[in-house]
Symmetry: C2
Subunit: 261 residues, 2 copies
């Protein structure tokens, strides 16, 4: 790889648009942090890349949460890494052709799920958040996670893709976990559940019964239930981590190189 | 469809080899019952179909459990419906490219899982089996299910595909549930677990802790855990049913028509 070379130097200065022109790549892989204000500069770059009939592969949720249909309708876009990292969510849907998704329900944010797991085990919200920050699961400003916004962005992507809705993050009803004083209610465990069907798209804390398939999705693990006209299936796995995100991108790259999508 | 026509008659008599010659199809879809003696007539038909560069899509486990590498190495074969019916197992693996599977672990037989769930809730083996037969989950001769053989056949297919082993059903160490007098051991729930790694391929009853992701896979549901060099993921969903099996076949047909595999 370019960056591995001992004598590697950046031989020009400029923004990613100039880099794209100079490098003339077959595929652009976006790992920029999410900019929910307007999706720049990724959104504008995608438009150019797709217009040039090149491939976009992204772990950046913001452009898709803001303008899903504009992007995905324009060309070849891999975005497995935006939801559940390397655990197939987007790409699981790709092997479910010809069935109609009725509703989706998931635990899509590892930070809040870690905090809720700790709270279920007796910690206060503040203690659990501190614990998550110490372990690097929560950022020093954890607002996007605990407010439910990050889960909302992921739900927006899933709802556009799987339910064929035409929504942005602004259309999602979002309630976070910041006001919870417990994650236990009788024998139920409170989880931050992202839910979407044809009429409702919302993120909010929901008490789950022990027999719920998402009940045992604890810590930083993520889980997603997809109900179609045929069946209800659930997938769970790690929802974050540098290696996992890289794998999400890599799996798209391999499958797109095979011409699958 | 041919069979839907009011005036439909079979205008010739003969076996499936003659039917194949006469119909000259692009794809052969096999829903014959499993013949574990020698895989005939499906195995021989597949060889002909694949030699002709046509597609095989199958819900029939026997040929693949007896001669996986001979079949899958020869051409385009869709076999999602052989393991977990319409719940992506085979096809989940197809969207996990470039990672190395270290081990797989699953509940792959709905009949035994239904019986074990009933036993966990207090029924005897005999009562639970009778219950399963009344509901149509178990056949009048349930030997293939309760002996673990059916799960072994599915494990053979998964192990060949995901771990790249070269084995047949005869290489699998199989222990069924027929000798269990309880499905509960302390706080553990006994499940019929199909397990494979590079060295071990076996089906046997295993007590699972409540925190095990397969613990809550009850009744006729199936579950599969795939551990790779990157991550451990679990998928669960219905493992049987006519609509589900048909969907398993249909999903292969659609994806193969797109040229994915």
């Amino acid at each position: 790889m370019l960056g591995d070379k001992q004598d590697f130097t950046v031989d020009y200065k400029g923004d990613i648009f100039l880099a794209y022109e100079k490098l003339n790549p077959d595929a652009v892989i976006d790992t920029l942090p999410a900019n929910y204000k307007d999706g720049s500069p990724s959104l504008q770059l995608y438009m150019k890349v797709l217009k040039d009939d090149r491939i976009v592969i992204t772990a950046n949720k913001a452009p898709l949460a803001l303008a899903f249909k504009d992007i995905v309708g324009k060309g070849r876009v891999g975005f497995q890494a935006t939801v559940m990292s390397g655990t197939p969510s987007i790409n699981l849907f790709r092997v479910l052709p010809g069935s109609e998704v009725k509703r989706i329900r998931g635990i899509l944010n590892g930070t809040t799920n870690y905090i809720l797991t700790k709270m279920y085990n007796g910690l206060s919200f503040t203690e659990a958040l501190k614990d998550a920050q110490t372990l690097g699961y929560a950022e020093s400003d954890p607002t996007n996670d605990i407010s439910g916004f990050d889960a909302g962005a992921k739900l927006t992507i899933l709802a556009n893709l799987m339910l064929n809705l035409d929504i942005t993050i602004r259309d999602v009803k979002i309630e976070g976990i910041q006001n919870l004083d417990s994650a236990k209610r009788d024998n139920k465990k409170i989880k931050l559940i992202a839910y979407a069907d044809e009429k409702t798209v919302q993120v909010r804390p929901v008490p789950l019964l022990p027999e719920d398939p998402l009940f045992s999705v604890d810590g930083v693990e993520n889980g997603l239930e997809i109900s179609t006209d045929i069946q209800t299936i659930v997938i769970r796995g790690p929802g974050a981590g540098p290696k996992n995100a890289a794998y999400g991108l890599l799996s798209d790259l391999i499958l797109m190189t095979r011409g699958w999508y």
